[in-house]
Amino acid sequence: MANDNNKTSGKYGIYGGQYVPESLMVALEELEKAYIEAVNDDNFWKEYDYYIKDYVGRKTPLFYAERLTKYCGGAKIYLKREDLNHTGAHKVNNTLGQVLLAKRMGKKRLIAETGAGMHGVSTATMAALFDMDCEVFMGALDVERQQPNVERMQLLGATLSSVSSGSKTLKDAMNEAIRNWVTTVTDSFYVIGTVAGPAPYPEMVKRFQSIIGREAREQILEKEKVLPNKVIACVGGGSNAMGIFAGFESDEFVELIGVEAGGLTGSIHDSAASINYGSTGVLHGCKSYLLQDDFGQIQEAQSISAGLDYPGVGPEHAHLNDIKRAKYTVITDEEAIQAFELLTKLEGIIPALESSHAVAEAVKQAKQMTNDETIIINLSGRGDKDMQSVMKYRRDNPKQKDLL
C-alpha cells in the first residue's frame, strides 16, 4: 500500500526494489506519482468499476465444483472463475487499471511482454478499446505454441514482435520490452503483466488484481459462512496468486498455497520453480528468487505452460515464502495435463494449462482433507489457447497412470 504521498515502499523484506538503468528512473518516478494520485482519486475508480463491470463482466462467480469434490472425496472445492472474464483470464483486471492510468498520463503507445499470450491479448484489447498503439513482445517459441493468441493480438491491431534471443520465451520477451521502453520512454507506457518488475509495478499489479481476493472472500462467506482452509493458485510471476491471496492475507488461518511449474520431471534442472529451486538475485528490475547458475547467469525455465515459463517470481511471493505466510509447491507437466483433462471431463470447464497446475495441487490436497473443510482454487484462465499444446503433449507422452 502507498505509505506517503509520492512513494510506495517498493520493498518486501529484502526483495523488490528498482534495479533498472538510470534511463528508466524518471519514467518510474512519474509512473509512481501518477499511480498514487490515481488510486486516491474516486473518479479513477469510478471509471475502473464501470469498465470492470460492463466491459470485463465482473464479478466472476465462485463455483462449487461438486463432481470434482466427489472425485477427491475430501475437502469441498470451489473455483474462482477468472476464466470467465472478457479475454479469458485474470490479466484484464490489471491491464484495465494500467491502461486507464496510461490514458490519464497522456501516453499514446502501450508496450507489453507476454508468455502464454493472455496478457498480450488483454493489453491489445485495451489498446483497441481506448484507441492506443500497442506493441507486444513474445518469445519465438511461445509464438509457435500459442498461435491462437498471436492471431487474436494481430486482429486487435497490435504489432507483434517475435523475440528470437535467449530461450525465446517470456524472459526474453521481457528483455526486449524493456529495451524498447528505454528507447521510447518519453511517449510509451510499459504495461507489465505480473507482480514483478521494478517498483511500483509489483504493488500496482497486486492492487488491480486484488479484486479477485476481495470478491472471493465475500462469496465464500456468503456460501459457507466460514473462511476457506486453503486458497490455491498457480505462480509464474504470480499475479493471479497475489490477487487472490490479497483477499485473505490478513486471515492468518487461511493457508495460502502457490503452485510453481515443475516442467517434465519436477527436478531442479528442468522446471520453472524459482522459489523451490532458485536463489536470490536481481532480474528485470527487482530482487527475488531466480533460477540461475553459480555465476549469476539466468537459466532457462522449462514448463509446458507458456505463462509459467519464467525463471523469476514476484518479489512479494519471495517474501511471503520466507516469512512462511504462503507455501509454494511444485506440479509437473504430466500432473497439470491430468488436471486439465480431469476438470474438463468432470465440470465441463477447460482450464488454462497455468491454472491446471493449481487444480492438480488442489486435488492432491483435497484428498487429504475432510468434507467439512474447503479449498478455493483460483481458476485464472481458460484453456482454449492450450488445445494444441495438450494434444501434442499427449501424442508424445501417452498417459501411463493416474497421478491425481
Binding site: 526494489g17 528498482q18 534495479y19 533498472v20 538503468p21 538510470e22 534511463s23 528508466l24 528512473m25 524518471v26 519514467a27 518516478e29 534471443s165 535467449g166 524472459k171 526474453d172 528483455n175 524493456i178 529495451r179 528505454v182 528507447t183 521510447t184 520512454v185 518519453t186 536463489s279 536470490t280 538475485g281 536481481v282 532480474l283 528485470h284 528490475g285 531466480l290 540461475q292 553459480d294 555465476f295 549469476g296 547467469q297 539466468i298
Partner: protein
C-alpha cells in the same frame, strides 16, 4: 590515489587529447585473447578500459553487445575470468584505469564483497553497474570503500534536476553521460540537444564527464566530446571481434585503427 583520479589529474588534453574509454566484452573471442587485445588497444591509444562482464539478460544493450555476451557465455566466461583478465592487463599497463562493467546479478550472486575484493586485488579501480541506480546503491557502498573502488555514476538524457543533484553528489572517478534514450550501439547521428545536456552536467559535476552510447568513429567522438572530457566507445569496437567466427588478425588491427582514429579526433 585511485588510478582513475590519477589519470585525469595527469592527463593534459592539449598534449594527450581528451580521454578515450573503450568498452570490451571479456571473453570475446576468448578469455586469453581478451587480455592480449585489450593491451594492444591501450597501446593504440585507449586511456581507460571498461571490462564488460557477460550477462545472460543484458537489457541495456543493443544487438552487438548482446551477441558478444552470448558468445562469451558459450565460452563459459565467469566473473573469475574477468578478474583474471584484469590482472593480465595490469601486468602490462600499470597506470591504465580499469573499470568493471557489469549487471548487478553477476556481482550479487558471486558476492559483492568477494567480487570487489578480488577485482581490487587484481588491479581494478572502479565499478560501473548498469542496473543499480542511485536508489539501490546503498547496499554496496561499504564494500566499495573497503576496497578503495570508485562507483561510476550514469546520467541519462531523461535524468531530471533533482536526480542529477543526487547523482553528482555521490560521483567519483568520472560520470558516464548516456547520450541517447535507448540501448548501447552505433548510431548515425547524435541527438541535437545533446550539447546542452552535457554542458549542464559538466557545470554541476565535481568529476570529469565522458559521453557514451552511439559513438562509433572520429566524427561522432569529436561532436560528443566538444563540451566534456572525453568519450566511451563500446559496440563499434566489440563489433570488430564478432565479424568472423575465428577472430582474425584483421579484427585487432581494424580495432586499433579505430582507436587511433578516435583518439586523433579527440586531440
Amino acid at each position: 590515489m585511485n588510478r582513475v583520479d590519477q589519470f585525469f589529474k595527469n592527463n593534459d588534453p592539449k598534449t594527450n587529447g581528451k580521454a578515450l574509454t573503450i568498452y570490451y566484452t571479456c571473453g570475446v573471442p576468448s578469455v586469453e585473447k581478451s587480455a592480449k587485445y585489450i593491451n594492444k588497444l591501450i597501446d593504440a591509444g585507449a586511456d581507460i578500459v571498461e571490462l564488460g562482464v557477460p550477462f545472460s539478460d543484458p537489457v541495456a544493450d543493443g544487438v552487438v553487445i548482446q551477441e558478444a555476451a552470448q558468445k562469451a557465455l558459450i565460452n563459459n566466461v565467469t566473473i573469475q575470468d574477468v578478474i583474471a583478465t584484469t590482472a593480465k592487463i595490469r601486468e602490462q599497463h600499470k597506470d591504465t584505469p580499469i573499470v568493471l562493467f557489469s549487471y548487478y546479478n553477476v556481482i550479487y550472486k558471486y558476492g559483492v564483497e568477494k567480487t570487489f575484493s578480488e577485482f581490487a586485488n587484481a588491479g581494478g579501480d572502479a565499478v560501473l553497474i548498469v542496473d543499480l541506480p542511485h536508489e539501490e546503491q546503498q547496499e554496496i557502498f561499504e564494500d566499495l570503500e573497503k576496497h578503495n573502488l570508485h562507483l561510476i555514476q550514469l546520467v541519462a538524457p531523461e535524468t531530471n534536476e533533482s536526480r542529477l543533484n543526487k547523482i553528482v553528489a555521490s560521483a567519483k572517478g568520472f560520470i558516464y553521460m548516456v547520450t541517447v534514450n535507448g540501448v548501447t550501439g552505433q548510431r548515425t547521428e547524435l541527438p541535437v540537444d545533446l550539447s546542452k545536456k552535457i554542458q549542464k552536467l559538466v557545470a554541476k559535476s565535481p568529476v570529469p564527464v565522458l559521453a557514451g552510447f552511439g559513438i562509433s568513429n572520429g566524427t561522432t567522438a569529436k561532436i560528443a566530446a566538444e563540451n566534456c572530457d572525453g568519450v566511451i566507445v563500446g559496440s563499434a569496437i566489440v563489433k570488430k571481434f564478432l565479424d568472423s567466427q575465428y577472430c582474425s588478425k584483421n579484427s585487432i588491427e581494424s580495432a586499433c585503427n579505430l582507436v587511433k582514429e578516435i583518439k586523433n579526433a579527440l586531440s
